[in-house]
């Protein structure tokens, strides 16, 4: 990228398009967005509008067909994907899974004291410490979601990328989780990029909203959004 990235920007995406294979229609077209330090950026759009694809592009899990991205050097990221059916069958306890999200700087056969401390703190934050010795197969959908979020938090990330993190949660836990995002932003300066269909959350907690329908329909503060919310909510 020609220009130097601004200091308060973690990820800068310029004029990016992505598709699911050569010759296929673009999943997203000419998207430009910055992810800033300490903000909650909500990605909103109907199913298939390109939210998950854009997130995968940010995480370098999928290539761009054109455009550029710059990321802050050594950026620590936590990610929660939308689908996690495979991991439910995995033979592991909650503690092992959360520990696997901690930063591993050296080759060492065991987890260090710092890693164990980070994992315990993350489990406490997500209220899954009582499940620490439970096996994944015994968890409900909502518990699983919280465990995977605890894994994200255990790595002390600067940026959390969360693909519909509240989809399997009840209203109480959804509200609690949204409160946790706000705390992470306010107390630790963590940036959160979150895709959601929950306009209430967007209005209450998001600093900015990116409305996506393959290309950017709107990017800015929710108070400036003039469009219709019902066009961008999920219709099952």
């Amino acid at each position: 990228m020609g220009t130097e990235m601004e200091e308060n920007v973690l990820i800068s995406i310029r004029d990016v398009s992505m598709n699911y294979g050569s010759g296929r229609q673009d999943a997203i077209e000419h998207v430009s967005v910055d992810v800033r330090k300490g903000e909650i950026l909500a990605l909103v759009g109907s199913n298939g509008s390109g939210k998950s694809t854009l997130m995968k592009g940010m995480l370098k899990l999928m290539p761009f067909s054109c455009g550029e991205m710059e990321r802050a050097k050594g950026l620590k990221i936590g990610y929660m994907a939308q689908m996690h059916t495979q991991v439910r069958d995995f033979p592991a306890t909650v503690r092992e899974v959360v520990l696997s999200g901690t930063r591993q700087d050296k080759f060492f056969p065991f987890y260090t004291r710092r890693q164990r401390k980070d994992a315990e703190a993350a489990m406490e934050l997500m209220e899954v410490q009582d499940l620490a010795s439970s096996y994944l197969g015994a968890l409900s959908g909502g518990q699983m979601q919280r465990v995977l979020l605890a894994r994200c938090v255990a790595g002390n990330p600067e940026l959390l990328v969360l693909d519909e993190p509240t989809s399997a949660l009840d209203p109480r836990m959804t509200h609690q989780l949204q409160h946790i995002f706000t705390r992470l932003r306010d107390e630790r300066g963590v940036s959160v990029v979150v895709s959601t269909h929950d306009w209430h959350f967007v209005k209450e907690h998001a600093d900015r909203v990116l409305v996506l329908d393959h290309s950017v329909e709107f990017l800015g503060k929710i108070s400036d959004w003039q469009g219709r919310e019902d066009e961008h909510t999920c219709h099952h």
Binding site: L59, L61, K76, Y79, A81, A92, L99, S100, Q104, F108
Partner: protein, 279 residues
């Protein structure tokens, strides 16, 4: 009837070496099998076994039969990496490429075998203890030490990548390097194991012990330990049956006997698991 007694067979240096080599190879494949099965990549062992078979047949055809390991290991490693690469790039699923490579390799191996005097297709496919030299035994011991070291040093990362590779890649972990390492270790283990265990049978040493362990353990570490133990027990049983068959008129190949004993161990584990669940 053979004039040999059971003691003669069991105490011969060849049989003892075969026990050591087969036991250690079962241990290695049993441990690797846990990761391969959990990553839904279990069939790779079958594909690599057939590619190993083809490479030994081709090595024999071009007069390098005494150096078959030196020919097979690089060839199988290369193919394994190609399968991994095609799987990643095409998004069609690794089983498609395993199917393509293994059937082509099987055909090449059978054709090369027909043109090579003294080359036994059956021995390559179903295993034999005749090829277990002292040097080969030390090579297998070396492989076990390396594999054990890699597992001990990388345990926490192997767990993370096996559990959720996508998450690791998203967080900046070089997951491809672990995949690469896993492919190399599996390739080397398969090639070294197929001499005793047989190219056609080698995948069962990856799949059966891991499935047995999955039935009996709910933790990753527990699965690795049980898989390793179950692989060695199955091998010892199968090898014992094969050695006993030497007393009769029909010799049973080691690989086939171990597959049957692995199945028996799996069935016992399944029975024990369902009994425990009901209790």
């Amino acid at each position: 009837m053979s004039s040999l007694s059971l003691w003669d067979i069991l105490s011969s240096p060849l049989t003892l070496r075969a026990f050591v080599v087969g036991g250690l190879m079962s241990l290695c494949l049993g441990v690797l099998g846990v990761i391969l099965v959990l990553k839904r990549y279990a069939l790779i062992g079958h594909g690599l076994g057939e590619i190993g078979f083809a490479s030994t047949a081709v090595a024999a055809l071009i007069g390098l039969g005494n150096f078959s390991l030196a020919v097979s290991i690089p060839l199988v490693c290369l193919t394994s990496l190609l399968i991994m690469l095609f799987d990643r790039k095409s998004g069609m699923g690794g089983d498609v490429f395993i199917g393509i490579f293994s059937t082509v390799a099987l055909a090449v191996g059978v054709i090369a075998g027909r043109f090579t005097d003294g080359y036994s297709v059956e021995t390559s496919m179903f295993g034999s203890i005749m090829g277990v030299t002292r040097g080969y035994m030390w090579a297998v011991i070396g492989l076990c030490v390396v594999l054990g070291g890699v597992f001990a040093l990388l345990y926490t990362r192997l767990f993370a990548v096996t559990f959720d590779e996508t998450y690791c890649r998203a967080c900046g972990v070089k997951a491809d390097r672990f995949q690469f390492l896993l492919s190399l270790m599996t390739s080397v283990a398969v090639v070294m194991g197929m001499r005793v265990l047989g190219a056609m049978m080698i995948s069962s040493f990856i799949i059966f012990p891991a499935l047995t362990a999955r039935r009996l353990s709910r933790s990753f570490k527990g699965m690795i330990i049980i898989s390793a133990v179950s692989a060695v027990v199955s091998f010892t049983l199968g090898m014992g049956i094969s050695a006993l068959s030497e007393l009769g008129t029909r010799h049973l190949p080691v690989g086939a006997c171990v597959v049957v004993s692995s199945l028996a161990v799996l069935l016992i584990a399944m029975g024990a698991s369902s009994f425990r669940r009901k209790a």
